[in-house]
């Protein structure tokens, strides 16, 4: 459903991605791992329309989408969850969901139910300021917010980064519930998480894809993954 072909992306004169290619099939959970500065965020932002590639293409459901504005890309059914875990902190949790439901004309009740479906505890926080949520709750709100309006592809940037072990479990539960129902590209540096959930893994280094893995025993073997860091 998504295919990225020979993508080259720069910030000004600094070239950050070199001939990056990857693909995602329907319902697949794809992970991207690699050290800090490898270009993982740059890759997701380019797919989501926030950065324009110098050359190469991003093809989503047979349509070339590179060069489209991020809001147009979102309308095609792609959602990007940023790395920084920023919610709309001055709005309530419910209002955060309202903003997501508005452009896709989804009923707010259905939107809330969808998020409760992946994380029942959120019901208690609906009328709280989103800014008062904990790091893990914010991450779940961000993922829940991105699920509103039946997107087809979710891009999630380091969902477990900076979270405590217990909270990471909450996030894992959410990811497990989504697995198979929606296509996902997840940037993740925690290789145990990658091993547990991935259908396909791309290891990135210095702006290049170093290795693609699809075999279960390759993916679940942590030492094997570490070789490509």
């Amino acid at each position: 459903m998504l295919s990225v072909e020979n993508l080259n992306v720069s910030y000004g004169h600094a070239k950050v991605l070199h001939d990056v290619s990857l693909k995602v099939s329907n319902g697949e959970m794809v992970f991207i791992a690699g050290r800090n500065g490898a270009g993982k965020t740059t890759l997701l932002k380019t797919i989501a329309g926030f950065l324009k590639p110098d050359t190469g293409s991003v093809i989503f459901e047979d349509k070339k989408i590179n060069g489209m504005l991020p809001e147009k890309v979102a309308h095609l059914g792609i959602r990007y969850v940023f790395q920084d875990k920023r919610v709309f902190s001055n709005l309530t949790v419910k209002e955060n969901l309202e903003i997501a439901a508005y452009p896709v004309k989804e009923n707010i009740k259905d939107a809330i139910d969808k998020v409760i479906g992946i994380y029942p505890k959120i019901e208690k926080f609906l009328n709280m300021r989103a800014g008062s949520l904990s790091g893990g709750q914010r991450q779940i709100l961000l993922i829940g917010r991105a699920l509103i309006g039946k997107p087809k592809l979710l891009l999630i940037d380091e969902p477990t980064e900076g979270l405590a072990a217990g909270t990471i479990n909450d996030i894992l539960n959410v990811l497990v519930k989504m697995k198979g129902n929606i296509s996902l590209v997840i940037v993740e540096q925690n290789l145990s998480v990658v091993g547990m959930l991935a259908d396909r893994v791309y290891m990135m280094k210095e702006g290049k894809i170093l290795k693609e893995m699809t075999e279960k025993d390759e993916i679940t073997n942590k030492e094997n993954l570490e070789k490509y860091l």
């Binding site: 979102a74 959602r79 001055n90 955060n96 903003i99 508005y102 452009p103």
Partner: protein, 277 residues
């Protein structure tokens, strides 16, 4: 002294009405918009030009002026401001300042350069708690309160308002949900411009109407916005009234220092509360 305070509150009310648009454009679009002062001036000129047509009915003249500013500000937003998104802030200053210079020359060409006086549209004084003030000024204070409450409700309760609040905090996140943020920013720009024109309309009877009237007001508005916090709706309100009072009270003791004092207060506030961008 109570009279001075009443005068300060009037100035505060007008400053609020003018500054809120500037603050929101600053906060949402990250653009320093000098053209805001021009819209204020245009408001005053449109009022004095149309008043005779409307048989000196001030309210109808004011309403007409505020509505007439919608297409003008739409053009400024669509063809100038929107081109400035994301570019360096000095380009925005230069481009919008150019708009001001062209606008002022146009005004001089149409209406001439000499100041035009306008009389108090109500012309009644009222006495409240042993203070006599023109009813008109009291109405300005009340109107600014109504606008504050309306805007507060607008930003809390309407979808457009919530989207703008969200985008003030994280524009890209709003875009990633499929919302064309620029459309909402232009609504905010137009609302802000209409309020600037209303400010010009309201201030016209208190001073006189002249081509440069927007310049000084704009600088004071910048002070209001910086003290109140960029894009901060409540902060702008509080800061407008405080600086209005500062102006009136300083002016009572030493007229020429009134405006300078505003900038001194701004400087002091900024030392203790750095600008958050």
């Amino acid at each position: 002294m109570i009279n001075t305070i009443a005068y300060g509150l009037t100035i505060g009310g007008i400053l609020y009405i003018i500054s809120i648009g500037l603050s929101l454009t600053f906060g949402t679009m990250r653009i320093v918009n000098f053209a805001h002062g021009l819209i204020y001036t245009i408001g005053a000129y449109l009022l004095i030009t149309t008043l005779p047509i409307f048989k000196n009915n001030f309210i109808i003249g004011a309403l007409f002026t505020v509505l007439a500013v919608i297409p003008i500000s739409y053009v400024i937003e669509r063809f100038i401001i929107r081109k400035l998104y994301g570019v360096s802030i000095d380009y925005a200053i230069i481009a919008t300042y150019a708009v001001v210079l062209i606008g002022i020359d146009l005004i001089k060409w149409i209406w001439g350069a000499s100041p035009i006086p306008l009389s108090d549209p109500i012309g009644i004084d009222i006495t409240l708690f042993s203070v006599t003030i023109p009813l008109y000024r009291l109405m300005i204070i009340v109107l600014s309160l109504i606008i504050f409450v309306t805007l507060t409700i607008f930003f809390k309760k309407t979808m457009i308002g919530k989207i703008v609040i969200a985008a003030l905090e994280d524009k890209d996140a709003v875009r990633s949900l499929g919302i064309n943020v620029d459309k909402y920013f232009s609504y905010v720009f137009i609302i802000g411009s209409c309020l600037a024109a209303l400010g010009g309309v309201l201030y016209a009877p208190i001073t006189s109407v002249h081509p440069y009237m927007g310049m000084m007001v704009l600088l004071i508005s910048f002070a209001v916005v910086l003290v109140g916090g960029l894009g901060n709706i409540k902060g702008t309100f509080v800061s407008a009234f405080i600086l209005g009072l500062v102006m009136a009270i300083t002016g009572r003791f030493w007229g020429p220092a009134a405006e300078t004092m505003v900038f001194i207060v701004m400087g002091i506030v900024l030392i203790f509360k750095p600008i958050e961008v």
